[in-house]
C-alpha cells in the first residue's frame, strides 16, 4: 500500500473536528437550515434525523471516494445523486420498518435528505478529491456537526414548548401549579430560527475571542 499514513493521524483528526465547530455545516456554512427548522419540534425525531444524516453523509462520501477515479466529470452530479438517493431510500425503509411512528413524524424530511446541501456539498468539496478513509471521516463528522445543532435546538424546543424530553415530563408539576405555562412560540418554526441564531451568536462570540 502506498498509503503509509496512520489511521488516526493529525490530519484525520482535523478533518473530524472541524465540522463539529469551526466549520459547522449549519452555524458556519448555513446549510441544511430547512430541515433543522422542521424536525426539531421534538427531541426524538431530531435524534433519528441526525443519525440518518450521519449515515447518509458518511456512506455516500465513502462510496463516491471509492468511485471517484472512475466517474466521468461531466456526469458526476447524476452519479452522486444516484448514490445519495439509494442510501436515503435504504435509511427510509429501515426507519419505516423499525421506528414507524418517528418515520411518520419526519414524513418527507427523510426523503429530502437527498436534496440536503450538506450531503452534496461534501461530495463535491471533499469526496471527489480524497481517499476513502478521510472521506468517510469527513462525511461522518459533517453529519455529526449537523446532528449536534439539531439535537441542541430540539432539546430546548421540546423542554420549553412541551415541558418534556423524549416524552418524559421534565418540568415538575408544582411549577405548572405556580402558573408556569408552556411556550407556544417555541413550537413554531420562527423560534427554531432564533435558537439557531443564538447558537451562531454564542459560537462566533467564542471563536472571535479565541482569535
Amino acid at each position: 500500500m502506498e498509503n503509509k499514513e496512520p489511521l488516526f493521524s493529525a490530519k484525520i483528526k482535523k478533518t473530524f473536528l472541524e465540522p463539529l465547530n469551526i466549520n459547522n455545516p449549519i452555524t458556519i456554512q448555513i446549510l441544511g437550515i430547512c430541515s433543522a427548522l422542521a424536525v426539531t419540534v421534538k427531541f426524538k425525531p431530531a435524534l433519528v434525523m441526525a443519525i440518518s444524516v450521519v449515515v447518509v453523509t458518511g456512506f455516500s462520501n465513502l462510496i463516491i471516494a471509492l468511485l471517484r477515479n472512475t466517474i466521468p466529470m461531466r456526469i458526476r452530479i447524476i452519479v452522486q445523486l444516484t448514490v445519495i438517493a439509494t442510501l436515503v431510500i435504504i435509511v427510509d425503509q429501515i426507519l419505516k420498518a423499525f421506528v414507524y411512528d418517528v418515520s411518520k413524524q419526519l414524513s418527507v424530511f427523510v426523503g429530502l435528505i437527498i436534496t440536503n446541501c450538506i450531503v452534496m456539498g461534501r461530495l463535491e468539496a471533499f469526496a471527489m478529491a480524497n481517499k476513502p478513509w478521510p472521506s468517510f471521516v469527513d462525511g461522518i463528522a459533517n453529519g455529526l456537526g449537523y446532528g449536534i445543532i439539531l439535537i441542541i435546538v430540539a432539546f430546548f424546543r421540546e423542554i420549553l414548548g412541551n415541558g418534556t424530553i423524549l416524552n418524559e415530563k421534565i418540568i415538575p408539576d408544582f411549577l405548572y401549579n405556580a402558573g408556569y405555562l408552556n411556550n407556544g412560540l417555541v413550537i413554531l418554526p420562527p423560534m427554531a430560527l432564533i435558537f439557531i441564531g443564538i447558537i451562531i451568536w454564542v459560537q462566533r462570540g467564542v471563536l472571535i475571542k479565541k482569535k
Binding site: 405555562l181 411556550n183 407556544g184 412560540l185 417555541v186
Partner: protein, 386 residues
C-alpha cells in the same frame, strides 16, 4: 442641586479608566447624563447642539403616555368593581388600578434596563435611553391579568431579539414594545386573548349577571355587532381592553403633545387613519358579514388602532424615514390593520401585526423612494446639460 453635581464629580474618578469601578463606566455615565446635561464638546467638525437630545425626546414621549397610563389605572379599578357590582369611589378605583399596574411597570423596567445595562457594559457602549419609552409602552399594551413572569420573559425577548442583536437603540428593525406583545400573543395565547385577561382576576371573582369581560374587538370577531358599545363609550374608554389602549381621549391628548412638540410625524399618524378609514369603507361596500358592515369611525375607535397609530407607528426608528415613505408606510398600516382584524378572526388585534409587518417593509419603501428621487434628478441634470 449643587451638592449632587459635587458628589458626582467626587466619585467620577472611580469609574474612569484604571479606576476601581471602571467596568461600571457605562452605568455611571448613564446616570450622570440622566441627571445633568453632558458638558462634553466634540473635538472637530461643526456640530449644532440642541437641548432636545435623545433623552429629552424620550421624555416627551413619556409625558405623552401619562394620560393613557393614568386613565388605564383608573379603568382597571373601574372594571374590577363594575364586574362585581360593588360601588366604589373614583379614588378607590384609581388606587386599586394603581396597585395592579405598578408591578407590571416595575417588572418591565427592571428586566429591560437590566439587559440594556448588561449589554452596554460588555460592549463598552454608553447606555441608551431607548428603553425608557419601550418600558412604559409594554405595560400599556398588556392585559392587566398578565402574569408578571410572562411580562419579564416577553420584555427580555423583545430587548434581546428586537434590539440588542441589531446593535441597540436606533438600530432595531421592529418596534420592541410590539415585539413583546407579539411574543406573549404567540407564546402564551391564553393570557392575552379571550374574555378573561382584561379584567383583574376575572376567573375567580363573583361577577354580576350579564357582565362579560369581552373586548369590543372580541365581540366584533364573534360577529356580535350589537354588543359593541356605541362610539361615545369607545371614545371615553371605560371598556375592557389592554391597560393603556381603551381611552381615546387620553390617546388624543398624547397625540397632541407629540405633534405639538414635533416628536412624532404627523404624516405617519394621519396616513394610518386614512388607511384604516379607506379599508373600512371598502369592506363596508363588500359587506358580506356583519363585521364588514361596521362603520369606519367605530373601526378606528375599537381596540388598539388609535394607540398604535399615535405611539407605535410613529416610532422614528422603525418607521419609514422619507416623507413620501411615511405616507405609504402609514397608509398600509391602516389598511392591513383593518384587513387582518376583519378577515382573520384568529388575530383580533390586527394593529400589532400590521405595524410589525410594515416595520419589516419600511427600509424597502425608503429604498424605492430614494431610488426614484435619484432617477428623477438624474433625468433632470441630463436634460439641463443637453
Amino acid at each position: 442641586m449643587k451638592w449632587l453635581r459635587n458628589y458626582i464629580d467626587k466619585i467620577k474618578p472611580t469609574f474612569e479608566e484604571g479606576g476601581k469601578l471602571w467596568f461600571l463606566k457605562s452605568t455611571f455615565e448613564a446616570f450622570e447624563t440622566f441627571l445633568f446635561t453632558p458638558n462634553k464638546t466634540t473635538q472637530r467638525g461643526a456640530h449644532i447642539r440642541d437641548y432636545v437630545d435623545l433623552k429629552r425626546t424620550m421624555f416627551i414621549v413619556i409625558i405623552a403616555l401619562i394620560p393613557s397610563l393614568l386613565f388605564g389605572m383608573f379603568n382597571v379599578g373601574y372594571q374590577y368593581y363594575k364586574a362585581q357590582g360593588i360601588s366604589a369611589s373614583y379614588l378607590q378605583m384609581f388606587y386599586f388600578g394603581f396597585l395592579k399596574v405598578l408591578p407590571i411597570i416595575i417588572v418591565t423596567y427592571i428586566t429591560g434596563l437590566g439587559i440594556e445595562f448588561f449589554f452596554a457594559q460588555i460592549r463598552k457602549h454608553e447606555v441608551n435611553e431607548g428603553f425608557l419609552v419601550t418600558g412604559l409602552l409594554i405595560p400599556l399594551i398588556m392585559p392587566v391579568n398578565v402574569p408578571l413572569w410572562i411580562v419579564a420573559v416577553a420584555t427580555a425577548f423583545a430587548v434581546i431579539f428586537g434590539k440588542e442583536v441589531y446593535g441597540g437603540t436606533g438600530m432595531n428593525v421592529f418596534n420592541p414594545a410590539l415585539l413583546a406583545r407579539a411574543f406573549v400573543f404567540f407564546a402564551y395565547p391564553k393570557v392575552i386573548s379571550g374574555d378573561f385577561p382584561w379584567i383583574y382576576n376575572l376567573q375567580n371573582i363573583k361577577v354580576v349577571d350579564g357582565f362579560s369581560g369581552a373586548t369590543p374587538l372580541a365581540n366584533a370577531a364573534a360577529h356580535q355587532i350589537e354588543k359593541i358599545p356605541d362610539n361615545l363609550t369607545l371614545f371615553i374608554g371605560l371598556i375592557p381592553g389592554s391597560i393603556g389602549e381603551t381611552s381615546k381621549i387620553a390617546i388624543l391628548l398624547g397625540a397632541f403633545i407629540l405633534l405639538f412638540t414635533g416628536v412624532a410625524s404627523w404624516r405617519t399618524m394621519i396616513s394610518v387613519f386614512v388607511g384604516g378609514i379607506f379599508m373600512s369603507l371598502i369592506l363596508n361596500l363588500i359587506g358580506i358579514n356583519p363585521y364588514m358592515t361596521i362603520s369606519p369611525l367605530t373601526q378606528i375607535l375599537m381596540g388598539g388602532f388609535m394607540f398604535g397609530a399615535v405611539f407605535m407607528a410613529t416610532d422614528p426608528v422603525t418607521s419609514a424615514q422619507t416623507n413620501t415613505g411615511k405616507y405609504i408606510y402609514g397608509f398600509l398600516i391602516g389598511v392591513l390593520a383593518i384587513l387582518i382584524r376583519v378577515l382573520n378572526p384568529a388575530y383580533p388585534e390586527g394593529m400589532m401585526l400590521a405595524i410589525l409587518f410594515m416595520n419589516a417593509f419600511a427600509p424597502l419603501i425608503d429604498y424605492y423612494i430614494i431610488q426614484n428621487n435619484i432617477r428623477k434628478r438624474l433625468a433632470r441634470t441630463k436634460n439641463a446639460t443637453l
